[in-house]
Symmetry: C2
DNA sequence: CCTTGTAAGCGTACGACGTAAACTAGTGTG
DNA sequence: CACACTAGTTTACGTCGTACGCTTACAAGG
């Protein structure tokens, strides 16, 4: 996971992993069926790092806490975005996580249909945000943003994309703009919407 | 793109593509700098298939139309999810798309900050939903779901994940439950939230 | 007509990658 | 002492992206 954290899933190779462990690549196959199996295990480890919602506590606080935790964990393991939900063999932490989320919603007075709705919006948003942010071709630091944006737009005629340019100059390169803050806005907007729809208990 | 549509990005190889075109693999490098460049071009083609929002029209209708179109396009090109926003060299359709979305929001009376908020939530949700749905380890058909779910839970003690089991049996395997329908729910929830926050024009 | 420049495509080759198969030590247990 | 088990190694195969150098096809200019 350290290797993947640093350079992405692509830099995690069996040979490289073996070398990092002081062992030949093939030795790994004593402990792991194949690379996909290894990634299954890694994904489950990532799930185990996510804070579990507590059934019986305030659902809104718990759901918010979980979403923030997912985002924080995925920001430490950016390789995991895009691979978390695609496993054909979910591990125990994965299943426990889903079980806890559903349990917390049901305990919070949701019926099954509303729980499914809530889970779907929250998860889609949280993973989607993580994905778009992780993949953003610039990191923190407005100098970086400005430079990257200029390089992207260079091949095209000036004034071809006026709104986009306005957005970048007026907003995205503002030094006290942090894209990460956007997450809170959308998260609360969605929680508000869910709270409004939830049948009163 | 036909190749990737069928078997995912992994089955698109330079040799395979050459063969499909009746040409040696290396011939492709006359037209494309490298594989990443090829994928850049493919991503831009995907963007070009997305319906553009019209500036001046009702922003809510346009945003909804766009989100639905994104989802539809991504469902035809499932390989593109996870790669759309990560390109270091966005093409003209990509930039035009972003420009149109921002333009439509600004024309709809949003200030730049609210436009950024709206764009962020909508995009994160739309991509996130596409990602989780595309990657779901089961396709359509409840028989499939039931079978897959049982196989996933088999290695674990019964009653280890009661809420998850309840969700699957009560809800997910219901024959008239289509996960795709969840998209509409979340989309309208988010649009409602945005409409509420938008400063009145 | 011939030359020459350019675009298109081909052939070969290299160094990754995941992993199958067979083998070799070291470690207990009967 | 024999035996099975475990962890690790060696070698090898097929596939990938792609660097490098070669060969055509063809159009423009003298």
């Amino acid at each position: 996971m350290e290797m993947a954290d640093e350079g992405g899933l692509a830099t995690l190779t069996m040979r490289g992993l073996g070398q990092a462990l002081g062992v030949e690549a093939m030795a790994l196959y004593r402990h792991v069926a194949n690379k996909s199996d290894l990634i299954d295990a890694m994904v489950d480890l990532v799930f185990s790092e996510i804070e579990l919602p507590v059934a019986g506590a305030d659902w809104r606080i718990e759901m918010r806490k979980r979403a923030v935790s997912v985002r924080e964990v995925l920001s430490r393991h950016h390789w995991a975005v895009g691979v978390m939900e695609s496993r054909r063999h979910p591990g125990p932490s994965n299943l426990r996580h889903h079980d806890a989320v559903i349990g917390c919603l049901l305990a919070g007075g949701f019926d099954m249909t509303m729980a499914a709705h809530a889970y779907s919006v929250l998860d889609s948003y949280t993973y989607g945000f993580a994905q778009t942010q992780m993949n953003l071709p610039f990191g923190a630091g407005s100098q970086d943003v400005q430079e990257t944006a200029r390089r992207m737009l260079t091949p095209f005629p000036v004034d071809e994309y006026p709104n986009l340019v306005a957005f970048i100059t007026d907003h995205a390169t503002n030094p006290d703009y942090d894209y990460g803050d956007e997450f809170q806005y959308g998260l609360d907007l969605i929680l508000d919407g869910i709270a409004r729809d939830r049948p009163r208990a």
